[in-house]
C-alpha cells in the first residue's frame, strides 16, 4: 500500500468513525434563527413531535442520520407541516444548503470509497433473460431459482440480493438446464403439420350436450362459454416451439366481435392449462389468428369463447335453433417443432460447426455429442467466445485461464469433450463475473454504463451495439445516451421494464393476492383481470413512447381500454378484446392510474375496501411519503361486510385515539376519496352487503348480495382542505405535481441503478426534475435526464 493511500484511509476512518468526531461546525445565526422560528416549537428535547429533537443539530453535534432526515423533510416540503407557514424559497435554500454541506461532505467521502450502489447480483428474472440473450434461445429457468428479496421497493437492489449455498446449488442446476435447452443431442425432430376442423376436439366429437352447430365446409360454431365445452385438440409428442393458426368469425353477433381465449397445457403431470391470450373474431369476414407457443410432450391446445351462454341453455334450445352469438371456427392448423436449421441456432452459437457423433449411454441407448479433433483449441475458442459476452466487458487471458484449465481437468478425469465444455460453460454462468454487476466507485466506465442501461430497460445483458459503443468509449456522451434510451425502449425486450417496474412501483405483481368474493362480485372474471393489468401497462407504454407528460399518471383524459374494461367502467362504444386509446367522458371519474381497476383491486381484498390501505398507497406510491408503520400493538380493523357498521364508523373511533390519529389524519382522507370504487374497481354509490340491506336486481337477475349503506367519500385533510371525491383528489395531486415527479424519479432511479436514493442525493434529483419540467414533464424526457444524471453515471 502506498503512503498517500494510507493517509487517505486514515483520514476516512477519522471522519466516518463514530467515536472520533463528535462535533461539526455550529450553524450560522441565520440558520439558527430560521430553525427557532419554524421548527423548534415542536422539536425540542423534552417531548419532541415525532420523537425527533433538533437540539443536537443546533448545538453542532455530529449526527449524520439526523442531518439526512431533516434535509429530506425540508427538500420534499414535508416539513414544516401544513397548515404551519412553510419556509420561503430563500429560507429553504439557507437551511438545505447548510445541511447539504454537512451531509455531502460525509457522504462524499463515503461515496468516493464505496459508491452509492452496492454490488448487485442478477436477480432471477435478469438471470433468465441474460441466458436467453446469450444463448439465443428462450430458456425457462426462473422457477428453479428462489424468489429474490427486495429493498427500497425493488428486487434488483444490491443490498437485498443475498447468496446462499442453496442458491448456488440452484445456479448449477439452472445453468445445466439452460444448456440442455440450447444444445441438441439428437437428430432433428420430424415436423408435424396438422390441418383439422373443430371436429378434432373431443368435446365436439362426443357432443355430450349437443351445443355445437355444424355448418358448411367443416365450419363448426361454438355457442357456450362453459369451461367443459371449451374445445381441446392436438396431442404434442415432441417438445419445442409450435405455430397454431385458426380461421374464426363471429356468428349471430349483431356485427360485434366475439372474444375467445386460447390455452395450452394439460398432459399427465404437466402444468395447468396456461392462457396464451385473448383474441377477437370479427363479424364481417373470417380472420386467421396465429400464435406460437412452447409446448411440452402431452400438452394440448384449447379454444374457449368468452362471455357466451352456459351450455345448459343451448342444449335446451338446440344448437340449430339457438339465436345467440357464437364463435365459428373454419379450421385449425398446428405445425412444429419449429426449427429453421438443425442443430438449432443456439447450438451453433456455442459449438460452431463442430461435428456430432453418436455415443453410447450406460443403458445402451445412444445420443449425439459434439466431437473435436483439436480439443485444446476448440475449448479455448468456445469458452472465450461465451465468456466475453457473459462477462459484459473485455476479459484478459488470466481471467479466462482457470475456466479453460477446468475444462481440461474434467476431460483428463474422463469426461467427453462436450460434457467437459458444458461444465466449463456452467462455471462461467456461476462465476462472480457473470452473476454480479461490477462497478467501481466514482465515474462508471462505459462497460458498466452499458450494463446499467440494458438491465434498466431490458432486465438483460447489453447487446452488441451497446458493447461496441462502450468499446469506443462513447457511452458517456449525452446525445448517445439519449439515442440509446430510445433504441432500447423501441425493442420488444423493453416489455421487461414495463412489467417489472410497474409490477413493483404500482404493485401489479400483487393482482392475485386476493380473489374477489363470487357472492359479492359475480361480474369478476379472468378476462377482466387480464384486461386490468394490460390497461396499466399499455398506458405506461403510451406515455413512454409518445413522451407524454407524467402528470397523466395522476389525471388523464384518456385511457387504454378494451370492451371488457369499457363495460366495467360504464363507457359505451368499445367492443371486443382489442385495446385502443379511448377519450374518457368528462363525468367518468376515470383517468390516471389511481382510477384504474387493477390499482383499485390491489388496494382492496376480495370483499371490502379500506381507506387506510388505499390512503397509504397514495402517500407511498404516488407522493413518495410512505406513512410510518403502525405501532406494534395497533392491530388492524376487523372488516365487517354484514352491512351494520361502515368503515367510516370504524375509522372514526380509530382517529380519536391520539397515537393513531396523528398519522391517520394524513392517510384516511386520501383513501376515503377512492371509496366510490369497489374491490374490483367498479364505480359504486352503495356498499354491497351480505347481511343487511335491500335486494338488488341487475338485468332481471336477482343478485346474491344486498344494497348496503351509501358511500360517503368526503373527508378533511390534515391541513384543513376538503376532499369530496376522487376528482378532487386528482386535483390536489395535480396542484402539487412536483411531489409526484420526485417520487416517480426516485423510484425510477432506484430501479434503474439497483441502489437506494438517499437524502444526500435529493439535490441531483431536484436537478433532474428541473430539466424534466423544462421539457414539459415528458415521461421519456425524464428517462433521458435520469440516464445523464451523475446518479446514473456514477457507482
Amino acid at each position: 500500500m502506498n503512503p498517500p493511500l494510507i493517509t487517505a484511509l486514515v483520514l476516512i476512518s477519522f471522519v466516518l468513525g463514530d467515536s472520533v468526531l463528535t462535533a461539526a461546525d455550529p450553524p450560522s445565526s441565520a440558520v439558527t434563527i430560521l430553525f427557532e422560528l419554524h421548527c423548534m416549537e415542536c422539536h425540542r428535547d423534552e417531548s419532541p413531535k415525532g420523537n425527533v429533537s433538533l437540539e443536537p443539530l443546533l448545538h453542532g453535534q455530529r449526527d449524520v442520520a439526523l442531518w439526512q432526515n431533516v434535509l429530506a423533510k425540508i427538500e420534499t416540503g414535508e416539513m414544516p407541516p401544513k397548515p404551519k407557514p412553510g419556509l420561503t424559497v430563500e429560507e429553504r435554500q439557507i437551511a438545505s444548503d447548510w445541511l447539504f454541506t454537512l451531509v455531502s461532505a460525509e457522504k462524499q467521502m463515503q461515496r468516493n470509497i464505496e459508491g452509492r450502489v452496492v454490488l448487485r447480483r442478477l436477480n432471477r428474472v435478469e438471470y433468465e433473460n441474460t441466458l436467453r440473450d446469450l444463448l439465443g434461445v428462450s430458456v425457462r429457468v426462473r422457477e428453479l431459482l428462489p424468489q429474490d428479496a427486495s429493498s427500497a421497493g425493488f428486487d434488483n437492489v444490491g443490498e437485498a440480493l443475498h447468496s446462499s449455498s442453496f442458491l448456488l446449488a440452484r445456479y448449477l442446476e439452472a445453468g445445466e438446464a439452460a444448456l440442455e435447452q440450447a444444445i441438441a443431442n439428437g437428430t432433428q425432430p420430424r415436423v408435424k403439420r396438422e390441418h383439422v376442423t373443430l371436429e378434432a376436439a373431443y368435446q365436439v366429437k362426443q357432443n355430450s350436450e349437443n351445443v355445437f352447430r355444424k355448418g358448411d365446409g367443416g365450419r363448426i360454431t361454438m355457442f357456450s362459454s362453459s369451461p367443459w365445452q371449451a374445445a381441446t385438440m392436438f396431442w404434442i409428442e415432441q417438445r419445442g416451439r409450435y405455430r397454431f393458426r385458426l380461421s374464426v368469425q363471429a356468428d349471430q353477433s349483431n356485427g360485434r366481435p366475439v372474444v375467445f381465449s386460447t390455452h395450452i397445457g394439460g398432459g399427465g403431470g404437466g402444468p395447468q392449462p396456461e392462457l396464451v391470450g385473448y383474441f377477437d373474431a370479427p363479424a364481417d369476414a373470417p380472420k386467421v389468428i396465429e400464435f406460437e407457443s412452447f409446448m411440452e410432450p402431452r400438452m394440448s391446445m384449447t379454444i374457449r369463447p368468452y362471455g357466451l351462454a352456459p351450455s345448459s341453455e343451448i342444449a335446451k334450445a338446440g344448437p340449430q335453433a339457438w339465436a345467440g352469438p357464437g364463435l365459428a371456427v373454419d379450421w385449425i392448423e398446428m405445425e412444429g417443432p419449429l426449427n429453421d436449421v438443425w442443430p438449432p441456432e443456439s447450438h451453433h452459437r456455442i459449438f460452431g460447426g463442430l461435428k456430432q457423433i453418436a455415443v453410447k449411454l450406460p443403458s445402451g441407448n445412444e445420443m449425439l455429442e459434439v466431437q473435436s479433433n483439436d480439443a485444446v483449441t476448440d475449448t479455448k475458442r468456445i469458452i472465450e467466445g461465451f465468456a466475453r459476452n457473459a462477462f459484459r466487458r473485455p476479459i484478459s487471458e488470466d481471467e479466462l485461464a482457470p475456466f479453460i484449465a477446468m475444462v481440461e481437468k474434467r476431460r483428463a478425469a474422463g469426461s467427453s469433450f462436450e460434457q467437459a465444455v458444458r461444465a466449463g460453460l456452467v462455471a462461467v454462468m456461476t462465476s462472480p463475473q457473470f452473476l454480479f454487476l461490477r462497478e467501481t466507485p466514482g465515474r462508471l466506465d462505459d462497460f458498466a454504463i452499458a450494463s446499467r442501461l440494458s438491465y434498466f430497460f431490458w432486465s438483460s445483458t447489453p447487446d452488441e451495439d451497446l458493447l461496441t459503443l462502450a468499446e469506443k468509449g462513447q457511452l458517456h456522451d449525452q446525445a448517445t445516451l439519449h439515442a440509446q434510451v430510445d433504441r432500447l425502449l423501441q425493442s420488444p425486450k423493453s416489455a421487461a421494464f414495463t412489467e417489472h417496474f410497474t409490477g413493483q412501483w404500482l404493485r401489479l405483481r400483487e393482482i392475485d393476492f386476493t380473489e374477489p368474493s363470487m357472492q359479492l362480485y359475480p361480474e369478476f372474471d379472468d378476462m377482466l383481470k387480464v384486461s386490468m393489468l394490460r390497461e396499466v401497462r399499455l398506458f405506461f407504454d403510451e406515455l413512454l413512447l409518445k413522451d407524454l407528460p407524467l402528470t397523466n399518471f395522476l389525471a388523464s383524459d384518456f385511457s387504454m381500454l378494451n370492451g371488457r374494461l369499457a363495460k366495467h367502467y360504464g363507457i359505451a362504444g368499445v367492443d371486443g378484446w382489442t385495446f385502443q386509446r379511448v377519450k374518457l367522458p368528462p363525468d367518468s371519474h376515470r383517468g390516471g392510474v389511481l382510477t384504474m381497476a387493477a390499482i383499485l383491486k390491489i388496494t382492496a381484498n376480495g370483499t371490502n375496501t379500506s381507506p387506510v390501505i388505499r390512503g397509504a398507497y397514495v402517500l407511498d406510491r404516488i407522493m413518495g411519503m410512505p406513512p410510518k408503520p403502525p405501532p406494534p400493538d395497533a392491530g388492524s380493523i376487523e372488516p365487517d361486510t354484514r352491512g351494520s357498521t361502515t368503515i367510516r364508523q370504524q375509522l372514526a373511533r380509530h382517529r380519536q385515539i391520539e397515537s393513531c390519529g396523528s398519522c391517520h389524519i394524513k392517510i384516511d382522507p386520501l383513501g376515503f376519496s377512492l371509496e366510490n370504487f369497489d374491490v374490483i374497481g367498479g364505480w359504486r354509490e352503495y356498499y354491497r352487503s351480505t347481511g343487511n340491506g335491500k335486494p338488488v336486481e341487475i338485468d332481471g337477475k336477482k343478485m346474491r348480495w344486498l344494497q348496503g349503506p351509501a358511500i360517503d367519500a368526503g373527508d378533511v385533510m390534515a391541513d384543513g382542505r376538503k376532499i369530496g371525491n376522487v376528482d378532487e383528489l386528482k386535483q390536489i395531486l395535480l396542484d402539487d405535481s412536483d411531489v409526484f415527479g420526485r417520487a416517480l424519479t426516485i423510484r425510477l432511479l432506484t430501479y434503474g441503478t439497483g441502489g437506494q436514493v438517499e437524502a444526500v442525493d435529493q439535490r441531483e434529483v431536484t436537478a433532474i426534475l428541473n430539466q424534466a419540467k423544462a421539457r414539459k414533464w415528458g415521461f421519456r424526457s425524464l428517462l433521458h435526464e435520469i440516464v445523464t444524471s451523475p446518479l446514473f453515471l456514477e457507482k
Binding site: 442458491l167 456452467v426 380473489e515 392491530g635 376487523e638
Partner: protein, 422 residues
C-alpha cells in the same frame, strides 16, 4: 475407526473441506441388540399461513383438556399426544402476511419490508448441528412458491413445491443413465465450485467494503456447498432406502389445498421413517382459489377475511377441519410406525401453527400453536396471557434442546417454555 473412514477423511481434507464426518449408516441399519442406541429425534415444522379460527382451535380452560375445542375433537384420541398453546407471539413481528417469513426465524419487523433482513430459521439452525447425520441435512417443502426455511445470511432456502421429485430424490435409485448423469453432475459441480471459489477470492481483494461483504457471502456459499456436495458424494455410494409404497405423484390442482397437504404429509412420514432427514419444514397453501371441499364456495384467503360473516366462518371451519383431519391422519401414521420400543411419533416433534393469530385482520398476536409427539407430556392446553406472552422462540429453544442440541438461545427467546415437560 475403520480404514474406509480414514480414506474419506483424507479425501475430504484434500478437497479443502473440514467437517464432522457423517455417520453414513442410517440408524435403522444398526442393531439395537445392545439396547444402547436410541432412535434419533426429529422435528417437523408446519405453518398454515392463514391462521386457524381461534374459537375453534383453542380449547376452553387451561391444563388438561376438559372440553376439547372442535378442531381438537377432529384429532380424536390423538389429541392426548398434542399440546395446544395459546397466547404466544413473536415480539417485534407486526400484523401482515409478511409475518410468514419470520414464523421460524423470529426476525424483527418483516412487515416493514424495506430494510427487513431475515435470519436463520429453526430447522437450518438445527441442521448446522445435526444435519450431517442424514442423507439430507434438512428438507424444505411448500405447497406453493415460498419457503419457511432461511439461511444465516437471510437468504431463502428454496422449498420443493411438488412431492414427486422429492420422492425420487429420496427413494428411487434411478435408471442407469440418470445415475451416471447424477454422478457426473456431482463431479462437475465440485470442479466448478473450485474454479469460481478462486475467482471470488481474487475479486474480493479489489472491492470496497460493502461490495466485499457481498462477495464474501458468495464465497462462503461456495464453501458450504462444496462441503455438502462432498458429503452427498459419500452418501451416493450407499443405496437409497427402500420404501414399500408406489411413488408419490403430484397433485396438479392448484386449488386442492387438502389433497396437496396430504401428499406432502405422506412424503414427510416416509422421510422420517427412513431417517433420510430429521428436519423438515412445510408451508401449507394459502390459496385464493376455491378448494374442492363439499359446502365450500369461496377461496381460502377470502374466507379467512370473514369480516364476522357467519356464512363465511362456517365455510372457513369446513376448510380448517379438513386440515385438522389431514394432520390427524399424519399423526396416526407416525404413531403406528414402531421404532424399537417406541413409536415414530414419540421421536418426532410436530409443530403445527400459524404466523397469524387472527387472519381476518392480519393480527400476529395469540398465534395458534400445536405441538405433537417428541416424547413430551401432552394432552393439555398451555394458556399464556396474549397481552404479555413469552416469545414463541422459547418453545423453539425447548424443541432444540429436545433434539439434543445444547443451546439456550434462539431468535428472541428469553428461556425455554414453561409447561412443556418431557
Amino acid at each position: 475407526m475403520n480404514s474406509l473412514h480414514m480414506t474419506r477423511r483424507r479425501f475430504l481434507r484434500s478437497a479443502g473441506v473440514l467437517m464432522a464426518l457423517p455417520a453414513l449408516e442410517s440408524w435403522q441399519t444398526r442393531a439395537f441388540a445392545d439396547g444402547k442406541t436410541r432412535p434419533p429425534r426429529r422435528m417437523v415444522c408446519i405453518c398454515t399461513p392463514l391462521g386457524m379460527h381461534p374459537p375453534d382451535f383453542f380449547p376452553e380452560g387451561k391444563g388438561r383438556y376438559e372440553q376439547p375445542s372442535s378442531y381438537l375433537e377432529a384429532l380424536g384420541e390423538l389429541r392426548q399426544d398434542c399440546t395446544v398453546i395459546s397466547g404466544l407471539a413473536h415480539p417485534g413481528v407486526g400484523s401482515s402476511h409478511d409475518s410468514q417469513d419470520s414464523f421460524l426465524t423470529a426476525a424483527l419487523h418483516p412487515e416493514n419490508r424495506a430494510g427487513f433482513r431475515n435470519s436463520v430459521s429453526l430447522d437450518q439452525f438445527a441442521a448446522e448441528k445435526i444435519g450431517d447425520r442424514t442423507r439430507f441435512p434438512s428438507l424444505a417443502l411448500a405447497a406453493e412458491g415460498s419457503s419457511l426455511s432461511w439461511t444465516r445470511s437471510g437468504a431463502m432456502v428454496p422449498a420443493d413445491s411438488f412431492p414427486a421429485p422429492v420422492f425420487a430424490r429420496l427413494f428411487l435409485q434411478g435408471k442407469p443413465d440418470e445415475v451416471h448423469k447424477q454422478a457426473r453432475r456431482l463431479e462437475d459441480g465440485l470442479s466448478i465450485l473450485d474454479t469460481i471459489r478462486e475467482q471470488a477470492q481474487g475479486l474480493g481483494k479489489t472491492l470496497s467494503v460493502r461490495d466485499r461483504e457481498k462477495i464474501d457471502e458468495y464465497f462462503s456459499s461456495i464453501r458450504e456447498l462444496e462441503q455438502r456436495m462432498a458429503v452427498s458424494r459419500e452418501w451416493s455410494k450407499q443405496p437409497k432406502p427402500h420404501v414399500d409404497v408406489p411413488p408419490i405423484e403430484n397433485n396438479m390442482n392448484p386449488a386442492d389445498l387438502i389433497g396437496k397437504t396430504r401428499l406432502m404429509l405422506d412424503l414427510i412420514h416416509l422421510a422420517l421413517q427412513t431417517d433420510s432427514t430429521r428436519l423438515i419444514t412445510l408451508l401449507l397453501l394459502g390459496t385464493s382459489q376455491v378448494p374442492p371441499i363439499a359446502g365450500v364456495s369461496l377461496g381460502h384467503h377470502d374466507l379467512s377475511h370473514h369480516g364476522q360473516d357467519p356464512h363465511k366462518i362456517s365455510q372457513l371451519r369446513k376448510v380448517e377441519l379438513e386440515k385438522m383431519k389431514a394432520l390427524g391422519e399424519f399423526l396416526t401414521k407416525l404413531k403406528s410406525t414402531r421404532e424399537h420400543d417406541s413409536t415414530l411419533l414419540d421421536n418426532s416433534m410436530i409443530l403445527f401453527g400459524s404466523n397469524l393469530g387472527n387472519a381476518s385482520n392480519h393480527s400476529t398476536k395469540n398465534l395458534p400453536i400445536l405441538l405433537a409427539g417428541g416424547g413430551f407430556n401432552h394432552g393439555q392446553h398451555l394458556a399464556f396471557n396474549p397481552d404479555n406472552p413469552p416469545p414463541l422462540s422459547n418453545l423453539f429453544v425447548t424443541m432444540l434442546q429436545r433434539l439434543g442440541i445444547e443451546t439456550d438461545q434462539f431468535g428472541t427467546s428469553t428461556g425455554t417454555l414453561n409447561g412443556m415437560e418431557a
